[in-house]
């Protein structure tokens, strides 16, 4: 069958069962947009900025596990997409980004809207392709989806020059992909798995530390089974929240820079640490030298060999898909006669409960001013813990992570690795498309929300009933907090002046806006907002300007050098 390059692109996306393409048109992709116009198998979502297209597609993937798809034009369209691509890359999100490119004969001649997308995106993609012939479009897109979704997932860019989308070529979608240079490992090494089981059964102070890999690898069920059988404490990274139910009594909270005392202390003092789909990054373990503990043995399960022994030396590495490895562990334990050391475990839990008893997440509940933590607690209550929560980056992100108890995976959607302000609203859009009837809350700050505020318009066009929870402290709060602690209160450029009237702004887009200034009004406002099931509601909570995020492990310190609110 002879088709134009643009038609081939559309056919390929249909073959991949793509439901939504988030994008923005322009010269280099006009042929593709013309074909989009003529089809109705997938829906194109017109955003207001390409960065938002990539974020929305990224969130669609985080919520569903499917590959997210974005389409942008060449030059400025491509460069606008880069922040979104880098964000997805840092969090290992499977995506395919199709970018237009100047026509082949013009490449390299500083053509209009030409930018070397392959070069610019190279350090922040899993892989990228420049398509140079119409016959390569289908095999390339097939490979792109395969690479994005398998192994350690990630974004793949397919850059297509305009003339290629006009050329005619034979079309056949490949049934399968065979790549001699890319064969992701699935099953873990059995010998290593057995070694790990032995260590776990002999442990006196065991600990399960799990990350985004459990969420991305759909391994939550296996993790719960394993943890319940062994009775071990479980902590999640920021990216791993929801991978283990937060309301389960074995859950000791998030760990890391703003993790709980109990999670960080258990992490530091355990004798057998089982890391699952997590990567010991600097926000999680702090300084590796301080983290080091000679009495601790580390088992590390990860699909990416390069994540193992990168920052921390590991004793038992297991390379494999986390779901497959945990399932194999559960099977082995089914057949196992040995059991964990009950007496030791009891003593370990007594110690953990003592740390837990310090209630490191307490805050002033009698405040006259709205405390941000209180808003998140109420959000959890009002949504019965069942909402999707997207977040921007800053203090509000940490409070959302600490106080919203996520019981299911893929419900907590945030930029962990890159820490990209501005993701919150486009993330909420992607999630709402993925699950149209779901409750979706976007927890944000007045700094972050203004980085992609133009998307209020997209939300209007597509009637997205998102609920924005703005914790408005008139500060770039996280910056202010660091300046307070480490720069002697010199608040350099961290005050947010000249804020818009958010209620009027929301209303100008036809949305509902609310100002909430008193703690007593918080629950009512949230209830009212979520009862407006078909409306976009923008809640502007005027919160305590001076509130800080605790606990806090200062940058470069070890986990046990944690500062609690009560210490100050």
């Amino acid at each position: 069958m002879e088709l134009s390059g643009a038609e081939i692109v559309i056919r390929c996306l249909q073959e991949e069962n793509v439901k939504y393409v988030f994008g923005y048109p322009g010269g280099a992709v006009l042929n593709i947009y013309d074909e989009i116009f003529k089809q109705d198998k997938f829906k194109h979502i017109l955003v207001r900025h390409e960065q938002a297209a990539v974020h929305a597609a990224d969130a669609y993937s985080r919520a569903t596990g499917q590959v997210g798809v974005a389409l942008v034009t060449s030059g400025p369209g491509a460069t606008n997409a880069i922040t979104g691509i880098a964000t997805a890359h840092m969090d290992s999100i499977p995506m395919v980004i199709i970018s237009g490119q100047a026509p082949t004969p013009a490449i390299g001649l500083d053509a209009f809207q030409e930018v070397d997308m392959i070069g610019i995106s190279r350090p922040c993609v899993k892989h990228n392709f420049l398509v140079k012939d119409v016959k390569d479009i289908a095999p390339t897109i097939k490979k792109a989806f395969f690479i994005a979704a398998t192994g350690r997932p990630g974004p793949v860019v397919v850059d297509i020059p305009k003339d290629i989308t006009a050329h005619l070529g034979h079309y056949e979608y490949p049934k399968s992909v065979e790549m001699r240079s890319y064969t992701p490992i699935l099953k873990g090494h059995s010998g290593q798995i057995k070694k790990a089981i032995k260590l776990m059964l002999e442990a006196k102070r065991p600990m399960l530390y799990t990350g985004g890999g459990v969420v991305l690898g759909d391994a939550a069920d296996q993790l719960i089974k394993l943890a319940h059988r062994l009775g071990f404490p479980v902590t999640n990274t920021l990216m791993g929240l929801g991978g283990y139910p937060a309301t389960d009594k074995q859950f000791v909270g998030m760990l890391g820079m703003h993790g709980t005392l109990e999670a960080n202390m258990a992490m530091q003092n355990c004798d057998v640490l089982v890391a699952v789909g997590a990567r010991f990054d600097d926000r999680v373990i702090g300084n590796p030298q301080h983290f080091y503990n000679k009495d601790r043995t580390i088992v590390h399960i990860d699909v990416d060999p390069s994540s193992i022994s990168k920052r921390v030396k590991v004793d038992v590495p297991i390379v494999g898909h986390v779901q497959s490895v945990l399932a194999e562990m559960n099977e082995l334990l089914d057949a196992e006669t040995r059991t964990p050391d009950a007496a030791a475990l009891k003593a370990w839990w007594t110690q953990i409960e003592e740390w837990r008893g310090r209630n490191c997440l307490t805050y002033n509940r009698n405040s006259e001013i709205i405390k941000p933590q209180f808003v998140i607690e109420k959000l959890w209550e009002v949504t019965k813990g069942d909402a999707y929560v997207t977040s921007d980056v800053g203090q509000h992100q940490m409070w959302a992570a600490q106080y919203y108890k996520f019981d299911k995976p893929r419900r907590w959607i945030n930029s962990g690795g890159l820490g990209t302000m501005g993701v919150g609203l486009p993330y909420a859009m992607g999630v709402q498309f993925a699950d149209p009837s779901a409750k979706v809350a976007c927890v944000t700050g007045e700094g972050s929300i203004q980085m992609n505020i133009q998307e209020l318009s997209t939300c209007k066009q597509f009637h997205l009933p998102i609920k924005v929870v703005l914790l408005n402290n008139r500060y770039l709060g996280m910056v202010r907090q660091w300046q307070q602690f480490f720069y002697e209160n010199r608040y350099s450029e961290s005050y947010m002046d000249s804020l818009p009237d958010f209620v009027k702004l929301a209303e100008s887009y036809g949305h509902v806006g609310m100002n909430i200034e008193k703690p007593a009004d918080v629950e009512g406002a949230l209830t009212e907002a979520f009862n407006l099931t078909d409306r976009f509601v923008f809640m502007n909570f005027i919160t305590d300007q001076n509130e800080n995020v605790f606990p806090m492990v200062p940058n470069g310190k070890g986990l046990s050098e944690i500062i609690l609110a009560e210490d100050l």
Partner: protein
């Protein structure tokens, strides 16, 4: 420690920049890098000379393996191997120096491949350290120009890097 790493990769546009980009992005050393197609035109073989602690070298190998275009990676220092590099040196050769240069060249088993009025161009192959030794043996003032290819390496005996 110095390591010589051999890489078989798809002979695709951009593959070289992915490897070079990886080294610069992660601040790994590159002492030299050579690349050319193999007898199978779909594959290129690259040799990288780098240095670092064992942990760094382990990460380099893992990160290289992670590149989608990379088919196989071998750290030649994991076993016995041969290293060769080609160097061309242009030296001043006037008067009594002409004989002296010829002698030096013979000692190092080099070849004079271009003779001009005031200069010789010498071709020399060997390990990097042999080439270094040759340059050290020369009086700095006589060296007009040098160009080196960077090392190529291959495992000894049945250590074979092939698909």
């Amino acid at each position: 420690m110095k390591h010589i790493i051999s890489i078989l990769m798809e002979n695709e546009a951009g593959a070289l920049s992915r490897v070079a980009g990886l080294f610069s992005a992660r601040a790994y050393n590159i002492e030299s890098l050579t690349v050319a197609p193999t007898e199978d035109a779909t594959l290129s073989r690259m040799t990288i000379v780098t240095s670092g602690s064992d942990d760094v070298i382990e990460q380099i190998i893992k990160q290289l393996n992670k590149l989608i275009d990379v088919v196989k990676v071998l750290d030649l220092n994991d076993g016995r191997f041969i290293e060769r590099e080609l160097m061309l040196v242009k030296v001043k050769a006037t008067g009594s120096f002409r004989d002296e240069m010829k002698r030096m060249c013979d000692i190092f088993r080099g070849r004079i491949i271009d003779v001009a009025d005031g200069s010789y161009t010498i071709e020399l192959t060997g390990s990097g350290s042999k080439l270094d030794a040759f340059l050290e043996a020369l009086d700095k003032a006589v060296i007009l120009e040098t160009v080196r290819t960077g090392a190529s390496g291959i495992g000894r005996g049945d250590r074979i890097l092939k698909l």
